[in-house]
Amino acid sequence: MKVLVFHIGADRYGLPLRQVRRVLPSLELKGIPLAPDSVAGLMNLHGTPLPVIDLSRISGRAPSRQHYDTRIVVADYIAPDGTVHALGLMAERVQGVQDVAPQDLAPSGVQAAPFLGQVAGDAHGMVQLVEVNDLLPAELRARLFPAEVATG
């Protein structure tokens, strides 16, 4: 199982590659007034507006710093009702793709944020999986993807 490794603060996390559409450099985002803090803004993906979630912010930390390896990952967000939405995720220090053996994965044992899943250890430390589908709380989901405006 391949994951895209990025950092939140000093820790490493992995996005499962099957849900990643593509990786983009950090772009200028359009601000959204009165939007929740975890929404970094709105990006333009080939003419389609796309909400961008700051992964550092949604994890309760300071907003992502603009490093050269701070990226925007376009991921597939599958809502509970089965519709698939494109969702931009701003991630710090996107290092690359890493292969994680399923047998290395183990439950973290601590239930903190709902979107943090199993952990796997390797030479550089531990990688915790991030479940994209659990990333948005219901209230935020309702704001970003109102039921009738579902996009592929």
């Binding site: 391949k2 590659l17 099957r18 593509r22 990786v23 450099p25 390896d69 990226r71 690359g96 793709v97």
Partner: protein, 603 residues
């Protein structure tokens, strides 16, 4: 009796009188009937007597006729002898019939009848017949007169006449008896009429008096009560003594009087209330007239006096407001007047001070005039010192010019070094931009390799080889990034070194420039000093002229000050006048205040 109605009283009273009169009438009628009866009996007796007289008369006629015939023998005299006899019998029968009620008389008359019938039918006939038989015989009359027949007839008639006389006598006795009885009855009648009349009169008087008392007493009470009421005594009441109509009238009168009294009392109470209200209003108005405006109108209501009270209250409120305002205005006017007076006094004092100041200025001006001459002398000494200064300054100026030249050379050299360092810095910048491009490329390559890895992952088994290539590319990109970062670091070090040199040179050249500037400044200052000193001489002349002009000016100042003094004096005078006016204003305001303060407006 008292509770009977007047109608019943009248009925009873008059009924009683009528009953007594009726009784009297019945009694009188009875008496009258008795009298009538007695009269009838009298008449009857008289009739009987008359009848007896007629019998006597007829019998006498018969006797007379018979005697006449006997004497004369004239048949004409006895022509009616039969008729007279019949008449006699009828008369006797009638008398017998009349005395049918009296057996004794009847018996007498019947005997008389028998005698007379016999006498008329027998004795007289015998006499007549005898005479006739005698005819015209001389002495017939004496014969007859001596005859037994005549004697017998005379005896019979005498006895009949005696019987008749007895009957007449009896009748007369009865008549006398009945007359006495009738007199008794008459006197009874009289007595009854007199006594009954008197009794009726007395009884009527009694009833009339009783009725009068029963009716007129209450009526008199009522009339007296009405008279008292009419004369204004509202407490007048009548005593209800009876239950009749007058009693009811009295009760009603009492009720009416009570109502009148109540109404009057009510009216009086209303009048008193009204008077109290009006008095209260008048009191407040009187206080207000006396200047005390604090009175409150306590009279209210919807009636006319209440509205009057409300209107007065409003008027007082307005007046009070007005007076308060006037008082305030008076106080303000007084205050303002006092302030004006104070300012006027201050101005006056200021004017006096000005006058004093003018005098001081005058003396000062004189001092200036005397000082000016001393200054002139001092100026001459200063001129000599200025000449010496000029020569010393020109020497120093020459030395400073040489120093300035050397400094200029140093500045030029420093500028050349600076230009070279700038060129070096520019080159480093160029390298830096190249490095940026390389970094961007490496970054793009990195992203490209990431996306390639993602696409390879999505391609599955077919993308396995491509995945390896992508990983290689990423590694290359990473190495490029690292090398670029090293170069960047070195370049940065170099740039910082150059910057430090440039900064040092800049500081140095800056110092030199400052030195040059200072030297130039000193030179300029020296030239300035020299110029100034050279200019001093004519300036001193100007000063001298100025001094003289000053003396003249001082004189002019003195004159102006004199004029100013005069003007100040006038100002002081006018200020005094103003002060006087303000005092008058103050008095007026005080008067106003005291006038208004006679009106008390606050409770």
């Amino acid at each position: 009796m008292n509770n009977l109605s007047i109608k019943n009283k009248l009925y009873i009273g008059f009924g009683s009188i009528v009953a007594i009169i009726l009784l009297l009438l019945i009694l009188a009628y009875n008496n009258f009937a008795s009298l009538t009866d007695a009269n009838r009996w009298d008449r009857h007796t008289m009739e009987v007597l008359l009848q007896l007289d007629r019998i006597n008369s007829v019998s006498l006629q018969i006797q007379v006729d018979t005697r006449g015939y006997i004497l004369t023998g004239s048949e004409a005299l006895i022509g009616s002898e039969r008729e007279n006899a019949e008449q006699l019998k009828q008369q006797v029968a009638k008398a017998v019939q009349l005395t049918a009620d009296n057996p004794q008389q009847n018996e007498r008359l019947k005997r008389a009848q028998a005698l007379l019938t016999t006498w008329a039918d027998v004795n007289i006939r015998r006499q007549i017949d005898k005479r006739r038989s005698l005819g015209d015989t001389k002495g017939a009359a004496e014969i007859l007169g001596q005859s037994s027949e005549l004697k017998e007839a005379g005896a019979i008639v005498a006895s009949a006449r005696e019987l008749l006389d007895q009957a007449a006598e009896e009748e007369r006795r009865l008549l006398a008896e009945r007359s006495a009885k009738a007199v008794d009855l008459h006197s009874n009648q009289n007595n009854l009429l007199l006594g009954g009349g008197a009794a009726v009169f007395v009884l009527s008087l009694l009833i009339a008096y009783t009725l009068g008392r029963a009716i007129l007493g209450p009526l008199a009470n009522l009339t007296a009560g009405l008279a008292r009421l009419g004369s204004g005594d509202l407490a007048a009441r009548t005593v209800v003594t009876s239950g009749d109509e007058l009693g009811k009238v009295s009760e009603d009168f009492n009720k009416m009087a009570q109502q009148l009294q109540d109404a009057t009392l009510r009216e009086q109470a209303q009048t008193n209330e009204l008077r109290a209200k009006v008095d209260s209003l008048l009191g407040v108005v009187a206080r207000a007239a006396g200047g005390d405006m604090t009175g409150k109108i306590s009279v209210g209501g919807d009636d006319a006096i209440g509205q009057l009270g409300d209107g007065l209250q409003r008027m007082f409120d307005n007046l009070r407001q007005l007076l308060t305002n006037v008082q305030k205005a008076g106080i303000q006017v007084t205050t303002s007047a006092t302030e004006i007076a104070a300012s006027a006094k201050q101005q006056e004092a200021t004017g006096v001070e000005q006058a004093q100041t003018s005098v001081e200025v005058l003396s000062t001006t004189k001092e200036i005039s005397s000082n000016t001459s001393q200054l002139l002398k001092t100026m001459e000494d200063a001129t000599a010192v200025a000449d010496y200064t000029t020569s010393a300054t020109s020497e120093a100026q020459g030395n400073l010019r040489r120093m300035d030249q050397t400094m200029q050379n140093m500045v030029n050299a420093t500028d050349s070094i600076n230009a070279k360092l700038a060129a070096l810095s520019e080159k480093a910048s160029n390298i830096n931009s190249v490095l940026t491009t390389i970094t961007k490329v490496a970054d793009q390559t990195n992203i490209l390799s990431l996306n390639a890895a993602i696409e390879a992952e999505k391609a599955g088994e077919a993308g396995r080889g491509f995945s390896v290539v992508a990983t290689e590319i990423r590694r290359l990109a990473d190495q490029t990034s690292v090398s670029t970062w090293d170069i960047e670091q070195m370049l940065k070090e170099m740039q910082s070194a150059v910057s430090a040199s440039v900064m040092g040179m800049d500081k140095f050249s800056e110092e030199i420039r400052r030195s040059v500037g200072e030297v130039r400044q000193v030179t300029d200052q020296l030239s300035g000093v020299m110029d100034q000193v050279q200019k001093l001489a004519p300036q001193f002349d100007a000063v001298l002229q100025g001094m003289q002009a000053q003396a003249v000016g001082a004189q002019q100042i003195t004159e102006t000050m004199m004029q100013l003094n005069d003007a100040t004096q006038q100002t002081v005078e006018s200020l005094k006048a103003t002060s006087e006016a303000v005092h008058q204003l103050q008095y007026a305001a005080g008067d106003l205040q005291s006038s208004v303060s006679t009106f008390a407006v606050n409770a």
